[in-house]
Symmetry: C2
Subunit: 578 residues, 2 copies
């Protein structure tokens, strides 16, 4: 039971000290989450209340099923962008309105995550290599920031790719609304200053560090309050500033979402990508935080926890959620000890939804856009690109492709291109495993690479060492390599494959070995193995490979050379080449 419901583990030992810590963390996270949930809903192309709804029930569900103590789930920037990009074409095609599509997406994403968790398919997240995910997040940050510029400038626009966004903006240079630009630029500047100097300044004024920190984190809330006031005082609506408008007060009524089959089919690929990206991000944050307190998380249970959170989003008119990096770190730093902090945060957002929404109607959209821009620019990490370039050109290629395709063609093609390219590059690397023709080190029983050492070889015997497990990606390499080596050695009568580093031989590699054996046999050459590991040998014994093998399996390379030379009446040591 406890495996499936981690809540049973922590709730039993809950005490008042933990309660105090969790409550304090919840207050700080709530202050941070209110503007974020409004802003990310706007980024996802959804009404603001959807962001609030996605910050209530999902947090409760995660508290019951999630295995991390301090992960703060809810709307996050990258998943909101992916939601926008999945919902827009569906809505444009008239399949469903944006909110219905977003709810369907959350339901699908939740179902996918839960299925992955139950079937222990978390390893699928490994398809997303670090360079791909890092490149994708950098590109998403740039796309999101560029996409919000229109709200800062007060112009029309749209588009899911950088060229579309800039083409849209370029056509509207004359239409910039000065009042909107004033609000947007002002909030941007305020938030920038707040982030860089607020905390230090307040601490300098004598405020305790924790309090200074909390006040600094409240900067977006202050910006919201100030611009709402300004909208009233200066009648900004009349000056053309777009306001959020009336938000329905009251909590969402939970209900099962209706899943239209054609909508499900259209959204399934996007739901899968959202699930995997959300999971990877979330697990990485959760693991980092857990390690700091020597706690641990269960990755497969995280899939269930995040799946439950998304199902909860779907039944309460929300949209896809996951664990947010910045928010989780704040939650952790503010002292949260258990997922109860998430429950209290949910209560905070519920109260805000009930009582604050009437005040938010006058909130300028430019304020939210500025909040988003400041938040996502921290996602952009060009130094990671430079670091990857220095370390590995093939990893860099995967990263660069992800960034360029994401910016130029959108999020789904971007992540797909990155995954495919990194798989292809991986196959390319492992398709040419390190291998060496070896010869005897004089006076020893050791065999070394003939290109690097002065060694003795017998022209009738070719000894080849492979330094990698044999599987489908490199099976054909071995055929090619042996064919090439044999073609240039007319006097050859024996090929010995030295396998000390072969941990596995899959069915493709087995067929290649059979093929090599057959081809060598037809050319009158015997094929031998040496130094085969125990488990590999056990598996070969289950096939008829060993009965077809024209040669033998030797325990050591030296035993092979001795025996094969003895058949010619020669000793163990070949004569040096004169």
């Amino acid at each position: 039971m406890q495996r499936w419901f981690p809540v049973l583990d922590w709730a039993r030992r809950y005490d008042s000290a933990t309660l105090g810590a969790d409550l304090l963390a919840a207050v700080i996270v709530t202050i941070m989450l209110i503007p974020q949930s409004l802003a990310y809903a706007m980024l996802a192309g959804l009404p603001p209340e959807v962001g609030l709804y996605a910050s209530i029930l999902p947090l409760l569900a995660y508290a019951v099923f999630g295995s991390s103590r301090t992960l703060a789930v809810g709307p996050v920037a990258v998943v909101s962008l992916m939601t926008a990009s999945a919902v827009a074409p569906v809505a444009a095609a008239g399949l469903a309105d944006a909110v219905t599509a977003a709810v369907t997406l959350a339901a699908l994403s939740g179902a996918i995550l839960i299925v992955m968790g139950v079937l222990r398919l978390g390893f699928l997240a490994n398809f997303l290599s670090h360079p791909v995910i890092s490149g994708f997040i950098t590109a998403s940050g740039l796309l999101i920031a560029a996409g919000q510029l229109r709200h800062i400038l007060g112009v029309e626009g749209g588009g899911g790719t950088l060229p579309e966004i800039f083409a849209g903006l370029a056509g509207q240079v004359g239409a910039v609304n000065p009042a909107t630009l004033g609000v947007g630029a002002g909030v941007l500047a305020f938030l920038y200053v707040a982030r860089r100097w607020f905390k230090r300044g307040l601490a300098g004024l004598g405020l305790p560090g924790a309090l200074a920190d909390a006040v600094a984190r409240a900067a977006p809330v202050m910006a919201i309050g100030a611009t709402i006031a300004a909208a009233g005082v200066f009648d900004l609506a009349a000056r053309g500033v777009e306001l959020v408008g009336a938000i329905p007060a009251g909590l969402p009524v939970p209900g099962l979402p209706v899943l239209a089959p054609d909508l499900v089919v259209a959204l399934l690929p996007a739901a899968f990508l959202i699930s995997v990206v959300g999971f990877v991000e979330s697990v990485s944050v959760a693991q980092t935080l857990a390690a700091r307190r020597r706690e641990r998380i269960a990755p497969d249970q995280e899939l269930i926890g995040l799946g439950a959170a998304n199902i909860a989003a779907a039944v309460s008119s929300g949209y896809p959620v996951t664990g947010g990096f910045a928010r989780s770190v704040v939650n952790f730093d503010a002292g949260a000890r258990t997922p109860a902090a998430g429950v209290f945060t949910a209560m905070g957002i519920a109260l805000a939804t009930l009582f604050l929404t009437p005040w938010l109607a006058d909130l300028p959209q430019a304020t939210l856009a500025a909040t988003i821009i400041l938040a996502v620019l921290s996602l952009v990490d060009f130094r990671a690109v430079a670091r990857t370039w220095r370390y590995s050109r093939s990893d860099f290629a995967a990263m660069a492709a992800t960034i360029l395709v994401t910016l130029g063609w959108g999020v789904e093609p971007g992540i797909t291109a990155g995954v495919l390219l990194s798989l292809a590059l991986h196959l390319w690397r492992t398709s040419r495993p390190h291998s060496a023709v070896v010869g005897q080190v004089p006076g020893t029983e050791h065999y070394r690479n003939i290109e690097r050492h002065e060694v003795l070889t017998d022209p009738a015997i070719l000894s080849l060492r492979v330094d990698e497990s044999l599987y489908f990606a490199n099976a054909r390499f071995l055929e090619d390599r042996i064919a090439a080596l044999v073609a240039e050695r007319p006097g050859l009568r024996h090929v010995v494959l030295m396998c000390p580093a072969v941990n596995d031989i899959d069915a493709s590699a087995l067929e290649s070995l059979e093929e090599i054996n057959r081809r060598l046999g037809e050319a009158g050459i015997r094929f031998h193995l040496s130094e085969v590991k125990g488990p590999v040998m056990d598996r070969l014994r289950r096939t008829d490979f060993l009965t077809h093998l024209t040669g033998e399996v030797f325990l050591s390379q030296h035993a092979a050379v001795c025996r094969l030379r003895a058949a010619d009446g020669a000793g163990c040591t070949p004569a040096p080449v004169s």
Copy 2:
């Protein structure tokens, strides 16, 4: 020059002995190829002359650019099925007629193969593991045979999947044409007998072996001659037997195909699959035959050769071609020495196109269908399925998925499912590399798995050995494994990662190591490495990982344990656990 034009290599040394051998082989292959080219064109859903055209110019192009001495290119069964499945939806959608679509497919396939050859992308063929390709070929054989049944029964029908084909046949049980069935069943029986007993029977009558063999191979041609005669004598057309009908005489006029952009986009995925499948099949035959004479082929040049052959097919109104298994073996066995045999075969087919076509109008389609069925049933290999099941369950899963999806949903989904599943299974296997917590073997400097040996360990030091290169698929595994091990060892102060089997660390794994280092550091645990290979160490030195590393890099595991224990004033050997 010789690299790009292998013809320069063999043509210079061409002599009359080689000419005689090549000519004899060409006669035998031509006799085999005439019925095959007609039949496979019908299988591809194209007029019969397209099959003949695909057997002339492509053979000349391969003779110039191909690296195999004995590969016989031309129409083959599996590629014809894939062509049918790609062309049918395009033709049904009205994008183009079948012949135009097939020509476009050949042009695309040729271009893809040449680009792969020039960029040395032959390794992409490694995506197709042996179990996937073998399962795909078995399923294709079954699909082709089932699809030809309607020609034997003389009923209408169609469909690209087994359920569709059988649903079509089931609805037509009453419409079976007795005359057609007579011809089809007769030819099937004749060909079956010819294949099993002809050669032996003729040899028993005193015919020399080679001649008996050639006569046996001419069985399909005899069947064609006999059924054409029967069609005339018994007026089979009036009895409802479908005949091939008038075939335009004369050679195709070479001309550049017009590539419509929407057609190109629609056919590109199929062209890619056809290219890769054709290449894999072709290279495997070519390599087998080359090895018998200790020759070798150049896989990247094979891409160019096959690409040129497909471009030649496209400019001469043909359809996609590749190296055929059965035909190449016949060519080799008949004594072909150089690709000139292919040139002579092309001449033979050209002569047939010029002078035989008027005679072929009366050929019953049932004869061709019987030829196809006999040819493809040798592709079906259930023993390979059983063998794979015994050897490896995950390889079997990939094979079974390929077979079932190909039969149930068609060739493109089938091969895609197989490739994706084998990649996923490979990732799954390598995402959990073998790793072991190790301890000191008493009285030695050796460190072994604590679960298998009686070893000594220090509660402050965790030594973990990983038996695999570290890359994106297993990077997160390492994070999880270390997090789990650390969580259950409260007194831990050092983690030593033992890397004697780590041949590579990619950027994902490097980030994981940095993350592990950071997390352990925050928990007050130092992170060390031991027995890192030279090239891996060189690469780590190019990063700032070593400056952030909280611990050290030790040459040996024993040096690590000695040094870390010495810092506590203890000796190299931990006390036994009491």
